[in-house]
Symmetry: C2
Subunit: 434 residues, 2 copies
Amino acid sequence: MSNVAELAHAMKTSLDYLIDAKRCEIAELKRLAQTSGLVDGIGGLVHALQRERGLSNLYLASGGSRSLEALMAQHRLTDQLVQLSAQTFEGLDVEAHPAAHGARLFARVALAAQGLSVLDALRQRVLACAENTVRTSAAYARLIDALLAVVFEAADSAADPAISRLLVALFNFSQGKELAGQERATGSALFAAGQAQAEAQQRLMRLIDSQERCFLVFAEFSGESLRARWRDLQTVEGVATLERLRRVLLSTPPTQPLDVEASQSWFDACTQRLDAMRGIEVELTAELQARCRERLRAANDDLRGLQTRLARGEASLGADAFEFFADAVGGSAPPVQASAGAVGPQLERSVHELVHAQAQQLQAMSAELEAVRASLQERKLIERAKGVLMAHRQLSEEDAHSTLRRLAMDQGKRLVEVAEALLAMAPMLPTEPR
Amino acid sequence: MSNVAELAHAMKTSLDYLIDAKRCEIAELKRLAQTSGLVDGIGGLVHALQRERGLSNLYLASGGSRSLEALMAQHRLTDQLVQLSAQTFEGLDVEAHPAAHGARLFARVALAAQGLSVLDALRQRVLACAENTVRTSAAYARLIDALLAVVFEAADSAADPAISRLLVALFNFSQGKELAGQERATGSALFAAGQAQAEAQQRLMRLIDSQERCFLVFAEFSGESLRARWRDLQTVEGVATLERLRRVLLSTPPTQPLDVEASQSWFDACTQRLDAMRGIEVELTAELQARCRERLRAANDDLRGLQTRLARGEASLGADAFEFFADAVGGSAPPVQASAGAVGPQLERSVHELVHAQAQQLQAMSAELEAVRASLQERKLIERAKGVLMAHRQLSEEDAHSTLRRLAMDQGKRLVEVAEALLAMAPMLPTEPR
């Protein structure tokens, strides 16, 4: 036996490294389980904030004469969920989160935490009727957007295709639900103000349209049972009321009166729909968590199987060792010395096969992941185009967003198409000095 | 102060989370530094294995009459590098490697370790003249491929654009160098056999072509100084000899005699070129390591800056806190109560701005990364197409590769084009039962 063969015996074997690979996979699944808990908490908090926004709009649009009690009660309810989410945020630890994705995740959490820390200041201005409904809606939308960005990051970083699919379905569903929440707030303000108004009507139309796109992506990536529940939701009684009120809101000519009393029915119809959506969201999150547990159990079983093989000494130079080259030399393994410790049960796959199978499986997973994540591409492009505008034109984020939206409306294009066009010419834009 | 505001004071602030994000970034940079060490060791080992392959071919093609001493000496030299690399492999720890990428990295290392563990068996067969040059070359190529796959994984997982660029340049350079090594082995065997042979000639042409593509990608992603060194390398004296011998090898009609004595000049000319390439590889790796250190230093400076702010109490609700909503509500920050502890130096950016800047920077980095990684896409597509063939047609990896290559040659297409076409129809292929 030569020097290198002796070395080979002293070294960690390929089986040891397979075990390391499995440990990494388990670390990733634990991280995903932790992320699922985070996403669950955010869903509940966002739901409360959406309701708080709707009630704030009812209150403001009525000049402080309606919904004060409901709003105050909602503040208390939201506070409890803020506390819960804050705990989940604090439970995230740097060690458990892969370096680069962790950096993006914590940067998102930083923004969300900043929003939550000034929620009270916003509420005080609302209660003092020192803000209008448009600015208040925008402020809540911004906070919710920061929270959903955490969910987006989670979806974008998941490395297990099945779990990633569910996270993509969840993110899109939550995004659609948020647009439905903005629809509720906008409609509430319109009815409570008692007068149709062109800008708000256009906004409503856009909100209804964009919801549909989100729910299509959700349906593409969620399982059949949730898709069915979502279909059922379109036919319940309350939806008819909602559709009728939508028609009223959109078809009343600008400056013509709207029935102020309908504001409560609108709010209730929308709320019923949003609550039902929240039910689906909760179920989707539960499925996500179940899937994490199931994958974790399977990975732990795999790990034990590998460790058993290691304990049996299968890792040493076995009869199958030369198989590593057999593929390359285009034949079956030659009769190399049949060394001791080489014989595992005939029915099990050899370590050689295992190493190959695992490499292939990881490759297949990474291909599937790319496909799932591609569905997040639209949002990334829009975010990136906003970033370009902010850097080159010294715009605020909201101004950048409005600019893109205006360009899209003027050209009759989708937001993402305008974003793509802008990014394509980005290298030619001059940078204004900061 | 309401309940939520009190909560906000008890919670981790956005500054705390910014610090967490920075810590993740630092963890990522440390991981990259560790990976650079790994990549360095692999480069040296691959270089030794390439030389060992060339000498093995000289030895085998001469029927065991040439190069035995040089080959034995090379075995001892390679062994030292195997030992060094093994130590670096063992120094990789599961904790330091992000979960999903870690799983792929260790799966690659497992395959490489398996190859190294059977190197001795291969050598014994070579020394006994029990293998021919084609099979031996293929076996060494397979081992080297497994080692370079570790470098590929490192390049594909780096989350810092500048470092990622260098890793992509390095991987492509190493890949090109390996093709140059295969060229040396193939040409050595041809000269030593003393007769031109059509199949080997086609193989040589393919190897020369594919090298060029690799070096183009290297030049695209490396810095100017290394690009210049690479250009200079094309004009040194030895290259003229190499080109002359290439011409002899390629233009001698099949079955016509080749000058056996030229085998040593060919080996020497190729070796001179490969050694010069190794010099560039070493420099590229040094640049990579320097860049890791530099980025790590900068990130640590950032971290200290953030910690100083935290110690100064800047994280509490400051005058800029309402800025979170200011963008959304489309105006400057309203005069919210100017709370204590809000005043940081006027010249520094506010925490609010920092949170935004960091989020934007991470986004820009992730866009740049996508662009760099896209250059690794070809290899991924080919690997994936091989995987499909292996699964559907029960082929070995090498047979899958040959099939793709044959398809490409028959259709006059590039390997990656055939791979893409195959992947496009993959969903329609029937799966044979295992």
